[in-house]
């Protein structure tokens, strides 16, 4: 799976302050750290970028490119900031993100043609986030048709099903998985991406990692293409590199409905089994799901 490092995010206090003060060293430190940790892309999330959007995005892209050769994923809801960033990207960038919302179709999608860039398209529409795998499929097909007509090929589109926190909507987590499974049939050649960490939003901090890692492995079963992740989670990177094949096989066995004898497993493996059961919707989520 392609790992997009999420650490340059405007919501993080240190990042927001560093950008505000144009402190290149803080930003570059995080970028070098993520490059070393094994990121394939670096995400630059500026949010709505209301203040001097063009100058801010260009400054950020430039200082980041001084210390890494990785391609960038530009994340802002502001099309002006997006375009400014795309102008100075050395590598083919990823637009994060466009959606089926009217404004996004009119102002974000054309940028993918103009520069050209790859683009993340989420299932969001003017009606909101669709519920269930089928309505996700319906929403994305409409937007994909529009994108294809504009000349954006499936190969350059990464579909984002919008992953919800498991503590908020457990059913939606499983539906996302169903959607990813059906996606290659719906749109051959298309790529997929999720904001993995959102899964564990609201879960106690020390337990977030295992949720994220387990779900990544589950998505892998359905050939998920990419994920925006915390690449500083070493176990996540190792799992993704195929260095923990027993854990991957174990998670996939649980997904296949196999009865697993917990007594034969290590404590760590047991945690992966319990977490898979929660993410499959087989066992009700609570913050203490590992303690049962």
């Amino acid at each position: 799976m392609i790992l997009i490092g999420e650490s340059i995010h405007i919501i993080a206090m240190t990042v927001s302050q560093a950008i505000e003060e144009r402190n290149a060293r803080v930003v570059q430190g995080l970028v070098m750290g993520q490059t070393d940790a094994g990121a394939d892309y670096i995400e630059l999330n500026l949010g709505p970028a209301r203040k001097v959007p063009e100058e801010t995005m260009q400054w950020l892209v430039r200082v980041v490119q001084e210390v890494t050769d990785l391609p960038l994923s530009l994340d802002t809801t502001n099309p002006v900031a997006m375009e400014a960033g795309l102008k100075v990207c050395k590598q083919r960038a990823l637009i994060n993100s466009a959606s089926g919302k009217r404004e996004s179709r009119e102002r974000m999608l054309p940028l993918a043609v103009k520069y050209p860039a790859e683009v993340i398209i989420s299932v969001l529409t003017d009606e909101g986030i669709p519920a269930g795998a089928d309505s996700r499929a319906e929403s994305i097909m409409e937007t994909l048709t529009i994108a294809n007509e504009m000349g954006i090929a499936n190969e350059n589109i990464w579909v984002d099903p919008i992953l919800m926190p498991v503590s908020v909507d457990q059913k939606a987590v499983y539906e996302c998985l169903e959607f990813i499974e059906m996606l290659p049939d719906l749109a051959p050649g298309i790529k997929s991406v999720v904001g993995l960490s959102n899964l564990s939003n609201g879960t106690p901090r020390e337990l977030r990692g295992i949720l994220n890692r387990t779900y990544m492995v589950m998505l892998e079963k359905y050939n998920q293409y990419g994920a925006i992740v915390n690449v500083f989670d070493e176990e996540l990177v190792r799992l993704n590199r195929g260095e923990m094949p027993q854990v991957v096989a174990l998670i996939h066995r649980v997904m296949d409905g196999e009865d697993i004898d917990l007594a034969l497993l290590s404590p760590r493996e047991r945690e992966y089994v319990k977490t898979t059961e929660v993410l499959m919707g087989q066992s009700l989520y609570s913050h203490s799901w590992l303690e049962t």
């Binding site: 503590s167 087989q282 066992s283 009700l284 989520y285 609570s286 913050h287 203490s288 303690e291 049962t292």
Partner: protein, 308 residues
Amino acid sequence: MQYKASLETYAGRIREVVIGREKKLLRIGGADTFPFHSFEGSLPNPPQFALEVYDTEPEGWSKGALEPFKDVVADPVRWARKCVENYGAELVCLQLLSTDPGGKNTSAEEAAELTRQVMEAINVPLIVYGSGADKKDLVVLSKVAEVCSGGNLLLGPLKKENYEEIARAALEYGHCIIAQAFLDINLQKELHIKLCKFFPVDKIVIDPLSAALGYGMEYGFSIMERIKQVGIVHKDAMMQMPIIANLGKECWKTKEAKESERQGILWEGITALSLLLAGADVVVLRHPETYNLMKKLTRNKGSYSVPM
């Protein structure tokens, strides 16, 4: 060829909680199927109903609610006796409302002593609800547990803020408990997991909170439904406790109940029946007429089905 309906069987079973003492035991829960689905599984115990008694003279009650108890409302012991002796209650629920620090702030010692008197005055099991003020309930319910040692009361509500001490007291002095999270199934399960680290799972009853028809009943309804599904279909051991609906006080607050006694009885009855269908195993009622109505509806000729 004879038609044979295909039936579902489920892997899980709701636990049976036994409250009360010696010859006055009452069994709650125990079903391995959904409420009233006697055609596809076993329902060893009927839904149970309690009549409520307050620890202090009620204020602002409608005439209709007050009428059946107007001669005893000043004396909780006589009130409880009347529930049992005159109205045939098989279960009583003592509401320790006056312990609320925002109200009369009755002391834990006084509340515990009253509870003991009520418990001893009646020959049926007793449910005891604190005022719902977390810190005060901790002191009150722990004291009640101690003073009523061995009474096997059903004590609550225990919340994430105060469960530990009350549960330890209940365990030490031999009582069952009611676990309550505020209309949130995930937090409800969380509380059960924490409780079950030291408290026996078959002495816990779930209170997901109930509201009256037209006043948000749907929220509790959905959660009860979901709890039953998770426990019976998905065999989630942490969600297989029986459910209590403490709904009398909610129903008689409504505008409709205040308008007329008959409307109040029906409002309480419809709310109770709805929550029984959702999964409640014990229902706390206010009016003896509703109590009769519910028993008639749910204990049809010895079976527990609703007559068609």
